[in-house]
Subunit: 789 residues, 2 copies
C-alpha cells in the first residue's frame, strides 16, 4: 500500500509501542513494560514538575520524551458531546414548561461573560501597572548612579546593582513557577490551544496557576528578561473564565452555589473560549482578533450565540482595560489604551504597490529566521527535558539567563555610543550614559525601555534615530536571548520578543533599502520595522488568521491588511519547509494528542477498521455490579467510555448489538449512590439519581478505590439504560478516516463507536487514534505517531 511505504516506522530499544492500543482516552491494549528501579520514586517527584501531564515518569519514559513522534495516553479528553440519557430528557421536559428557566440560564451566560471581561481587564491593568512601577523603581535606582556619577565613580556599581535587581526579580518568578505551579511556565498559549482543542491539561485552569502566572510575569518582565506579558494574559483570561463560570474554587474550598448548571465540560469550555478571547483582547486591544483566536483554536462548529458572547467578553475586556489605563495615565476617558501593547498610529505612512515584492522578500527572511529560532529552541527544549529536570536546575538556569541578559545589555550600552539629542516629546527612560548633556543613548533606551515602548520606538522614531550598529547588535542579542528564554520556568510571552526582534531587523532592512535605492522615496524605515515584525512573528509562530487580524487591529490601519497578510502567509510557507510553529513544537514535545483542523491528506484510503481499537470492553444493558467494578479498577487500561450492548447470545455472534454509551464518571456516580437493585439481573431499580448528582461531582469524580462496596452488593445488578447516552454517533467500519475525522472534530467527540453491518460494536475510535496520523515534514506525506501508555 502506498501509505505504508510513506510511513516512517520508528523502532525503539526495549520499549514496545502499540500503535492502535488506546480506547477511550487512555490506552486500551497492552501497557508499556518497563523495568522499574529504585530511582523511580525519586524521579517521579522531579519529573512531574516539568511536564504537563503531571504523572510519574520512569527513566525510560524520560528517554522517550523529547521525540515528536509520540502521543501520551495520559492526557484525557473533554466530554463536549452532551449525554442524552433518560435523565436528561426528563429534565428537558420539565424545562420545556418553565421558559423562565431558559431565560435565566441565558442571562446568567451573558452575565458570566461580562464578569470574565471585566476581571480579565483588571488583571491586565494590574500587571501593566505593577510592571510600570517596578521598572520605574529599577530605573530610578540605577540611573541615579549611571547619569550623574559616571565620571566620578566606577561603572561597576550601577552594573552590579542592576544585575542584582534583575536576578532577584527573576528568581521570585522562577521560584513561584517551580515550586507552586509548574504549568504556569511559558506563554500558556500552547496549553490553552490544547484545552480548546479538547484535551484536559491538568491544573491549567486552576486559580493557583493564575496567581503564579500573574506574579511571575510581573517579576519576570521587571527583571528585564526578553519576554512579553501578552501570552500570559490569554492564559489568565482562560483561568478567570473557568473559575467564574463554575461559581466555586476547589483550591479555596469555596462554593457560591451559583451557576451549577454550567458544571460540565461542555459549558466550561465555552466559557474558557470567551476568557481566552478576552485575554487576547486585553493584550492587544484586538477584540475581533480575540474572537477569531478562540474560534480558530476551539471551534467545533460555528455556534452563533456563543460567538456573540465571546465577542461581548472581548469588547468588555478591551473597554475596561482602556478605561482603567486611561485613568492610570491621568487622562480618564481618552480611551487611548485599548490593549497592553500598542503599535501607535500608522496613519499617513502609505506604502506603494511596488513595495509588495520587497515585503515578500522580507517574509522569506522572516520565515528563515523563524525556522532557525524554532530549531534552536527545539533542541534546547529537548536538552532541558532530558537533563535539566531537577527543580534547582530550573532555578539556576533562570538566574543565569537573567544575569546574561543584564550583562549583555550593559555591555551593548557601554560599547555602542549612539547619542541622539533629546526630542521634544518625552523619552520615558532617557539614559545619558557617555553622551553630552541634552543627549541620550539610543542603545540604552532600546535595551532599558519596556519591550512595548521599544516596539513603538522602532516603529515610529524618525529615520535616523538608530545607527546600523545599534540595530544589528540589538537584533542579534535579542534573537539569542529570546530563544534561550522561552522554555524557562518563567511565565513568558513570545509575541513581544518576536515583534521586537523582527522590528529591529526590519528597520535595518529599511535603512539598507534606502541606501541601495535612494531615489525610491521609501523614506520611512518604521514601515519596514512593522513588516519585519510581522515576518518574524509569522516565521516563529506560524499562526494564522487570528494573528493577522490581531496585527491589523494593533496597527489600527486597515490598508496594511494586505501586506501583513501576505507577509504572514509567505513567512509561514517558508518556515513550514523546515519545521513547525513553536507552539506546535512545544505541544508535540509534551506528546499531547491534539487534532489538527482538517484530516491529514492521503488518508482517504484508511478505513475505520484500520483506525479503531479492538477488542472493546463493553457492558451489558443490565450489568453485574462486580463486573463494573472490575472494569473500572483495571489498572492496565483505564477506559473512560464503554459501549453498552445487548447480550450477544442470540446469533452466536461474538459482538453485542450497540445500544448506547456510558462514561466512567457516570458509572462512578451510579456506584457511589448505589443505584442498583440487590436482586441479580432485575431492571426494577427505582433509582433517585438526577442530573444534578452528576453535575455536583464535576469535575472531581471519586476514584473507584475509594468506593466502599460490599461483597453482597457486588452480586446485584444495575440497569444502565436510563443513564447511558441512548443514541451516540457511530460509524460503519467502512467509513474513511477523513469522514470519521470530520465528524469527530465537528461535533467534539470523545468516543466514536464503530459498528458492523448488523449494528454490533466492533471497535471504538478515540482522539489519539486520529491524532496518530499526521502530515509529515513537507506537507504531502503522511506519518504515524506512536502512543505510549
Amino acid at each position: 500500500m502506498a501509505l505504508n511505504e510513506k510511513t516512517h516506522l520508528l523502532e525503539s530499544g526495549r520499549t514496545t509501542y502499540n500503535g492502535s492500543s488506546s480506547q477511550s482516552d487512555v490506552g486500551y491494549g497492552n501497557s508499556l513494560q518497563v523495568e522499574h528501579n529504585e530511582n523511580v520514586a525519586a524521579n517521579d517527584v522531579r519529573m512531574r514538575r516539568t511536564t504537563w501531564d503531571r504523572s510519574p515518569k520512569s527513566p525510560e519514559e524520560v528517554q522517550q520524551m523529547g521525540t515528536m513522534k509520540l502521543l501520551s495516553s495520559k492526557f484525557e479528553s473533554l466530554d463536549y458531546d452532551i449525554v442524552e440519557n433518560s435523565l436528561y430528557f426528563k429534565e428537558q421536559k420539565q424545562v420545556g414548561s418553565k421558559t423562565s428557566m431558559i431565560r435565566r440560564i441565558q442571562t446568567a451566560r451573558w452575565f458570566v461573560m461580562l464578569l470574565i471581561g471585566v476581571i480579565t481587564a483588571c488583571i491586565a491593568a494590574f500587571i501593566d501597572v505593577m510592571i510600570d512601577k517596578l521598572a520605574g523603581a529599577k530605573y530610578a535606582l540605577v540611573s541615579k548612579y549611571i547619569d550623574h556619577d559616571l565620571e566620578s565613580t566606577s561603572i561597576l556599581i550601577p552594573f552590579l546593582l542592576w544585575l542584582a535587581v534583575d536576578v532577584g526579580f527573576v528568581s521570585i518568578a522562577a521560584i513561584l513557577v517551580t515550586f507552586v505551579e509548574p504549568v504556569a511556565a511559558g506563554s500558556g498559549i500552547p496549553q490553552i490551544k490544547c484545552y480548546l482543542n479538547g484535551v484536559k491539561i491538568p491544573h491549567v485552569v486552576r486559580i493557583k496557576t493564575l496567581f503564579t502566572k500573574v506574579i511571575g510575569v510581573i517579576f519576570g518582565m521587571s527583571g528585564g528578561l526578553a519576554i512579553g506579558k501578552e501570552g500570559p494574559m490569554i492564559h489568565s483570561g482562560a483561568v478567570v473564565a473557568a473559575g467564574i463560570s463554575q461559581g466555586r474554587s476547589t483550591s479555596f474550598k469555596f462554593d457560591c452555589k451559583l451557576f451549577q448548571y454550567f458544571r460540565s465540560d461542555h459549558e466550561k469550555r465555552d466559557f474558557v473560549s470567551g476568557g481566552a478571547a478576552a485575554g487576547v483582547s486585553a493584550a492587544f486591544g484586538a477584540p475581533v482578533g480575540g474572537v477569531l483566536f478562540s474560534l480558530e483554536e476551539g471551534a467545533s462548529f460555528w455556534n452563533q450565540s456563543l460567538t456573540w458572547r465571546i465577542f461581548f467578553a472581548s469588547m468588555v475586556s478591551t473597554f475596561t482595560l482602556n478605561v482603567l489605563l486611561s485613568y492610570y495615565h491621568n487622562d480618564p476617558w481618552s480611551l487611548s489604551s485599548p490593549g497592553l501593547v500598542n503599535f501607535g498610529q500608522f496613519e499617513g505612512k502609505d506604502y506603494y504597490g511596488y513595495e509588495i515584492p520587497i515585503f515578500i522578500a522580507m517574509a522569506v527572511i522572516g520565515g528563515l529566521l523563524g525556522a532557525l529560532f524554532n530549531t534552536v529552541n527545539y533542541r534546547l527544549s529537548v536538552f532541558r527535558i532530558k537533563y535539566l529536570y531537577k527543580r534547582w536546575m530550573h532555578l539556576v538556569e533562570a538566574m543565569l539567563v537573567a544575569s546574561v541578559t543584564a550583562t549583555l545589555a550593559f555591555l551593548a550600552i557601554y560599547n555602542i555610543q549612539d547619542c541622539r539629542s533629546l526630542p521634544q516629546e518625552e523619552v520615558k527612560y532617557p539614559l545619558q550614559m557617555f553622551c553630552a548633556d541634552g543627549e541620550y543613548s539610543a542603545t540604552a533606551s532600546l535595551f532599558f525601555s519596556t519591550p512595548e515602548a521599544s516596539i513603538k520606538n522602532l516603529f515610529h522614531d524618525p529615520p535616523d534615530a538608530y545607527s546600523v550598529k545599534t540595530l544589528l547588535v540589538f537584533f542579534i542579542v535579542y534573537f539569542l536571548l529570546s530563544c534561550w528564554t522561552y522554555g524557562l520556568n518563567i511565565p513568558s510571552g513570545l509575541f513581544i520578543p518576536c515583534i521586537l526582534t523582527g522590528a529591529a531587523w526590519g528597520r535595518l532592512f529599511g535603512i539598507l533599502i534606502n541606501t541601495v535605492l535612494p531615489d525610491a522615496q521609501l523614506s520611512d524605515p518604521g514601515k519596514y520595522a512593522l513588516i519585519g515584525a510581522a515576518a518574524h512573528l509569522g516565521g516563529v509562530l506560524r499562526m494564522t488568521i487570528s494573528l493577522t487580524v490581531i496585527l491589523i487591529e494593533a496597527t489600527g490601519n486597515i490598508t496594511y491588511g494586505l501586506p501583513l497578510m501576505l507577509v504572514l502567509v509567505f513567512a509561514k510557507w517558508i518556515g513550514d519547509i523546515f519545521n513547525e510553529g513553536l507552539y506546535d513544537i512545544h505541544i508535540q514535545l509534551q506528546s499531547v494528542p491534539i487534532l489538527p483542523w482538517e484530516p491529514p491528506q492521503l488518508t482517504a484510503n484508511i478505513h475505520a477498521r484500520e483506525v479503531m481499537n479492538q477488542p472493546v470492553v463493553t457492558l451489558n444493558t443490565i450489568e453485574n455490579v462486580g463486573r463494573i467494578i472490575d472494569v473500572l479498577s483495571c489498572k492496565e487500561s483505564k477506559h473512560n467510555g464503554f459501549p453498552v450492548v445487548d447480550p450477544h447470545d442470540q446469533n452466536g455472534s461474538t459482538f453485542g448489538t450497540f445500544r448506547g454509551l456510558i462514561l466512567r464518571d457516570q458509572l462512578l456516580i451510579i456506584l457511589k449512590h448505589k443505584a442498583y437493585s440487590t436482586f441479580p439481573l432485575s431492571d426494577a431499580s427505582d433509582h433517585k439519581l438526577r442530573t444534578k448528582d452528576f453535575q455536583n461531582s464535576y469535575p472531581r469524580f471519586p476514584d473507584i478505590s475509594t468506593l466502599n462496596i460490599t461483597h453482597l452488593e457486588q452480586q446485584s445488578s444495575v440497569d444502565l439504560r436510563p443513564f447511558m447516552n441512548q443514541a451516540p454517533y457511530s460509524v460503519s467500519e467502512d467509513a474513511s478516516l477523513p469522514r470519521i475525522f470530520r465528524l469527530f472534530r465537528a461535533v467534539g467527540l470523545r468516543h466514536l463507536v464503530v459498528v458492523n453491518d448488523c449494528n454490533e460494536v466492533v471497535g471504538i475510535v478515540t482522539r489519539k487514534d486520529l491524532a496518530r496520523f499526521r502530515v509529515s515534514g513537507h506537507g504531502v506525506g503522511l506519518e504515524q505517531l506512536f502512543i505510549s501508555t
Copy 2:
C-alpha cells in the same frame, strides 16, 4: 406532550398538508391535491417571474404564498458531503502517488481566489465610476436650469427634466430585472445566505444574473432611488466566484477546460463563500467583516485553509478596489478608498462612558423603528406576491416609486430653505436653489448627493450644518421611500438606506440631547449619527457579528467597537420581540428551508423517529434497471437520494440492511453510460465509469425522460455498490433532534439515514424535516412549519 400544546396547528381550506412528507429534498409522501383550472397555464408564466424557485404555480399555491409558515419542497439542497465510493477511493490512491497533483490543485485554489478578488473589485469600481458619471451628468443637466434660470423661468422645467431622467433610468433597471433575470432583484444577500446555507436557488449564480445586477444597480442608483450598491456587490462577488471556479459558462457555451476538479457542489460552494466575502470587502472596505460574513452564513465547520483563502480573496478585493478608485480620483497609491462606502475618520471624536446608556436608549429606538420598517415591508411584500404578480405591474410600480422619490425630494428642497454658506472644502453637488450667492441649500445637498456622500455629510458636517426641520423631513421621507423601494424589481441594497435613515434620526437625537443637556459637552451630533445608523441597521437587519465587524472596519476606529456592538445587540433584542430580520422575512416568504445556526430549543424530546420520513424508497445493492427508471421517473415524489440496502428476505424483516447511499445524479449518469450488465442480477459489470464522468455533467445532469433505454436493457441489472457512498452518516431512531441537527449542519448533509437497532433503514431525514421546527415569536416557544409540494 408539552410540545404539541405549543405547536400552532394551521389548518387550511382545501389543501392537505402533510407535515412529515419529504424525503430527499423534495417531498416524499402525498402530493398536494389541487384543482387545476384553465388559468393555470397563464399563471405559470407570470408567477415563475416573482418567486425564487421558478416552478409554475397554481392559483392555490399563489394563495398559500405570503404566509411564513410554509416550506417549499421545490428547493433542493447542495451536496456538500463528499461521495466516498470505490471510484473515489481508487482515484485517491492514484493521487497519493502523485503529490504534484495535490500541489497543483492547491495552487489552483489560491489562483482562483486571486481572480475572484480582482474581478469582484473591478466590477465594484465599474459600478462606482458609472454611477459617478451618470449622476454627474444628471446633476449638470438639472442644475443648469435650477441655479441660473430660477427666477427667469418656471421651476417646472428642471423638475420635469429631473423626473424624466429618474424614471427613464429606473425603467431600464426594472425592464432588465423583470424580463432578463428576476432573481437579480433586491439585495441578493438573502439569496446568497440561502446558497451558503446549502439551498440551491435556481439561476442565483448565473452570469446573466450578474449582468442584470450590475447594469440594474447602476441605473437604479443613478435614478435617485433610495437604494445602495453594497448588497448587490455581495451577490456579484458570489456569481464571479461560481463562474470562475468552474472555468466555463453554460450561458455562453464556453468551457476553458480548466479547474475541472472544482466541478462539485462542495468545491463550488467553497469558492462562492470567497466571492461573497470579496463582495463585502469591496463594498465596505471590510475584509475581516467579509470573512466573518461568509463564515457566519456558510460555515459548517471552521476549515482553516478555506478560511485563509477566503481572507485572501477579501484582501485582494479591497486592495484592488483601493488602487482602482485611487487611480480614478487622480491620486494613485493614496489608497484611501478601501471600499465603496466610507464613513470617514472618527479619530478625535471620543465618547464618554456615561454616554453608553444614551446609546442604548438609541438602540431601543432603532429596534422599534426597525421592527416597524420590517412589518410595513412584510405587508407590502405579501401584497406584491398576491396582487402584483404580472410583469407590467412590476414595471409600473418601479416607475411610480421613481416619480414619487423625485417629486418628494423636489418638494422638500422647494419648501425647506435651509441655506448654508459654502465651506472651504468642496461640496460635491452644491445647489443654490433659493439661497443667496455663496450659499447652498443643505436640504438639496442631502437629497441630491449620492447616498454615500450624504452619509459622510451626516457623520462629519459641523454641528449646525442641518436644521431640525431638514433632518426630520429627510428622515421621514427616506424611511418611507426605502421601505417602499425594497422589494421592487430592482437590484437594491438595503445597508445604505438604513444607515442614511439612522444617521438622520441619530443626528436629530444628538441635537436634541445637546438642547436638553447643554452642559454635558456632548457637542458632536456626528457621533450620534453613527450610533443612530448602527441602531437602525441593527433594528432592520438583525445581523450579527459580521455586521458589527463591518461597521467597525468602515468606521475605522476600534474604540467605537463596544458601543457599536452594544447598540446592535440591543436593537436586535428589541426588534426580535416584534418580528424577524428583513432578510429572514424575505427568505421565509419564499418558503426556503433554511437551517438556523443552532437546533431550536425545546426539541430535545423530539426523536429521529418523529422527524424522519417513512416509508423510504430504497434500492437493492444489485438493482434491476427497470426499477431504477421507475423510481427516478416517479412524478409524485422526486427523490434525490436513495439508501442502498441488502435485500430483506432473510429474517422476514420489512426493512433492508443499510449498506450505502446513492444520489439521483449518480443513477442518471450510470444509466446514461449504460454501466449495467445485460444478464439479470449479475454483478460482473465491468463498467468503465470514472469520477470525471460525474464531474463533467455537473451541474446539469440529464433528465430521466431524455435517456433512451430499450425494453431489453430494462431487464438487466446494475451493481450499485461501486458507485454508492459506502459509509454515509446515519443515526439511530432514538437520536434527539438537536443531535441530528448538529450533525446535519456541522458536516453539511443532504440526506441522513435513520436506522434501527439492527442497522435496517427505517427512515430518512432531510433539510426540510429539520427546517420545519422553528423557534416561535418570543424566543422560547416552538412552532412547526408545513411543507408544500
